[in-house]
């Protein structure tokens, strides 16, 4: 059997993915915002907005969207299944949680004495079950298995629970064969070592968010160190020009430098767009920006067609293909 990828409509052949946007958000809901008196969640309206954004992605040549928001940030599996069916875009949904501030009290202050936060092993069980038995439609049923395991560490330094989440996610990836993606703004290499220490091969790990703040010397060195270790680097803010963020020309230069250093097989690109945001600011970027704007920029910087194709299609295909556990 050829390699399979877990989508919300079930496993498909990895070769069917096409161009993959590896780190996007479909419906993004800050935990708790679903209960807010001043926030309306109109799923018919949300469907229309997301469907039109997915169609634009497809029209630009996109094949697969990976929703990287995890299991507790608005994930709505019946909605994503219907969207995938009606737009023809493959949707890969993720399990995992983090950083700590996004967690519910069930994990942080359990009804035990003392209220000890969950250790890595329990997060591993929770996430691995989602990646093998199916993702939860809470208190109703499991749906299709998750295609990616994600976590994020707090931006001002990892908390002990952030580390438990990361280690648990790495263990779940080891056991399920589904890849791990994490972001660790405060100390990326430390976090990578933590994940590797759980026995997860480096080529099952994506380090994301490196291009959020800049592409200066430190970021370049970190990216190079991650790739050298054998893990993937996701530049997942393509097209974003927030204050203090790098330009896409800076990002293209970073990609070229990594390719020149022999790391072309370890690069992933994504817009980090948010289809519909509830409880936080809209992110004004489109899923297809890598195809429409950034790929031409890479070509202009001198990356050939094969090099671009590898980054947009082959690398995510290899990452998302579930490994035999």
């Amino acid at each position: 059997m050829s390699a399979q990828v877990n989508t919300v409509l079930g496993p498909i052949g990895a070769d069917e993915l096409g161009v993959v946007a590896i780190h996007e958000a479909l419906l993004s809901v800050v935990p708790g915002a679903q209960f807010a008196y001043d926030i309306t969640i109109d799923r018919a309206e949300i469907f229309d907005i997301l469907a039109s954004k997915l169609r634009a992605f497809k029209a630009a040549g996109g094949g697969t969207i990976v929703d990287r928001t995890g299991m507790f940030h608005g994930r709505d599996l019946p909605l994503y299944e219907a969207l995938s069916r009606s737009t023809g875009v493959h949707i890969v949904a993720s399990t995992g949680m983090g950083p700590e501030e996004n967690l519910g009290g069930y994990f942080l202050t359990p009804q035990t004495n003392p209220p000890t936060p969950w250790p890595a092993e329990r997060f591993a069980e929770l996430f691995a079950a989602e990646a093998t038995d199916g993702m939860v439609h809470p208190r109703v049923a499991r749906r299709a298995p998750a295609g990616l395991i994600v976590t994020t560490q707090s931006s001002d330094g990892a908390t002990p629970t952030d580390d438990s989440l990361l280690r648990g996610a790495a263990l779940a990836a080891t056991r399920s064969g589904v890849a791990l993606a994490f972001s660790a703004p405060s100390d990326t290499i430390r976090a990578l070592e933590l994940a590797l220490a759980e026995g997860l091969p480096a080529d099952r790990i994506v380090v994301s968010g490196l291009d959020r703040a800049g592409t200066g010397a430190t970021v370049r060195a970190t990216a190079r160190a991650v790739a050298k270790r054998g893990a993937y680097i996701a530049l997942d803010h393509i097209g974003r020009v927030d204050a203090g963020s790098p330009s896409d020309d800076d990002r293209a230069a970073l990609v070229l430098a990594l390719v020149d250093a022999g790391h072309g097989a370890r690069i992933l690109l994504s817009a980090g767009a948010v289809g519909v945001a509830k409880g936080h600011a809209e992110v004004n970027s489109a899923y297809e920006v890598v195809l429409t704007d950034f790929a031409p920029k890479l070509a202009a910087h001198g990356l050939d067609e094969d090099g671009i194709r590898r980054i947009l299609i082959d690398n995510p295909r290899d990452l998302l293909a579930v490994k035999e556990a």
């Binding site: 209960f35 519910g104 069930y106 009804q111 003392p114």
Partner: protein, 326 residues
């Protein structure tokens, strides 16, 4: 006229009748819905819940105050169906069991925003259910000290209580001086506040009952039935007779008007195993017989479960408060 919001609409305080002031149809910590180990089919949830409420009604129970806060599996449509089919009045809560149970959106919110959330749920409705909250829940996070977030919730609750007339029930009565200071600073008369779980096992020695009572607050004997005599008691359990004698001290000293009594049982717990053998009907099956055996008369029993509750819901309205304030 005092209107009390049940999930099926307002009733007069005089219609509340025998009321348990602190119960749960089903409680789960936020996030527990993600863990399949606790999942129950709807069939199972009704099967676990309806017979307990039927027995409650047959014993003479009329009103069930559900103390489940926002983010804890509070489920108004479900409560509406149960209330309608059993005839038991269910009063839902706005607010939070404590800062520990407020998810990020609310954990980062201001006192003003939290106030607006509570007032909306008390006056407009909860989510799309059409049901309104009738009481406000606040509480102390784990560790027996009010956190900054707990205190924002207390202040918002005080403002919402002043704006709507709804009373406040707390999870835990520890660190009362801090709570009283914040509530009084907001201008709330403490008769509007039931300091809950003053009777539980882990709080003993940590509750300033005199301070609460002298400030006008009410004392919650609302974990009746979490007895260490149970086969598998929870960590907040307490010896049955110790709790009973604690309550009797109030009754014997003529302070029956200061206390409210409940069982804090889950009909069908959502994110924890619950405590086997403990239901709301402990009130009828154990506590009331114990009270009678100790010579407590029916008038006092009625006062605890009927008169005090009606008083708690009616002691003030926003209008009288405003005129008194000026």
């Amino acid at each position: 006229m005092t209107r009390v919001n049940t999930v099926l609409g307002p009733i007069a305080a005089q219609q509340l009748g025998f009321t348990s002031i602190h119960e749960h149809i089903g409680y789960g910590m936020p996030g527990s819905e993600l863990d399949t180990r606790w999942w129950k089919t709807p069939e199972q949830r009704y099967e676990e819940t309806i017979p307990k409420l039927r027995a409650f009604a047959e014993h003479g129970g009329q009103t069930f105050v559900d103390a489940t806060g926002i983010c804890n599996g509070r489920d108004i449509d479900y409560y509406q169906s149960i209330a309608e089919k059993t005839g038991v009045n269910i009063i839902a809560a706005t607010g939070f069991v404590g800062g520990d149970t407020a998810l990020k959106h609310f954990a980062e919110a201001s006192v003003e925003y939290l106030t607006d959330q509570f007032v909306h749920e008390l006056t407009v409705g909860i989510g799309t259910s059409g049901g309104k909250a009738g009481i406000i829940k606040v509480g102390v996070s784990r560790g027996f000290k009010l956190t900054a977030l707990d205190l924002r919730i207390y202040r918002a609750a005080a403002r919402a209580s002043l704006a709507t007339g709804a009373p406040i029930i707390t999870h835990l009565a520890v660190d009362a001086a801090t709570a009283i200071e914040a509530l009084q600073d907001e201008g709330l008369p403490l008769t509007r506040v039931l300091f809950g779980h003053a009777d539980d096992g882990v709080s003993q020695g940590k509750v300033d009952e005199e301070g609460i009572v002298s400030a006008g607050g009410r004392i919650g004997f609302d974990t009746f039935g979490y007895d260490l005599e149970l086969p598998d008691p929870p960590f907040w359990g307490r010896h049955r007779d110790e709790r009973f004698q604690h309550l009797m001290r109030y009754l014997r000293s003529g302070q029956a008007d200061k206390v409210l009594v409940a069982a804090d049982a889950n009909c069908s717990p959502l994110g924890w195993p619950g405590v086997k053998g403990h239901t709301i009907n402990y009130l009828f099956e154990q506590l009331i017989p114990d009270l009678r055996q100790d010579g407590v008369d029916d008038a006092t029993i009625d006062q605890l479960f009927i008169g005090n509750v009606a008083d708690f819901f009616t002691t003030s309205t926003p209008d009288t408060l405003n005129s008194e304030g000026k």
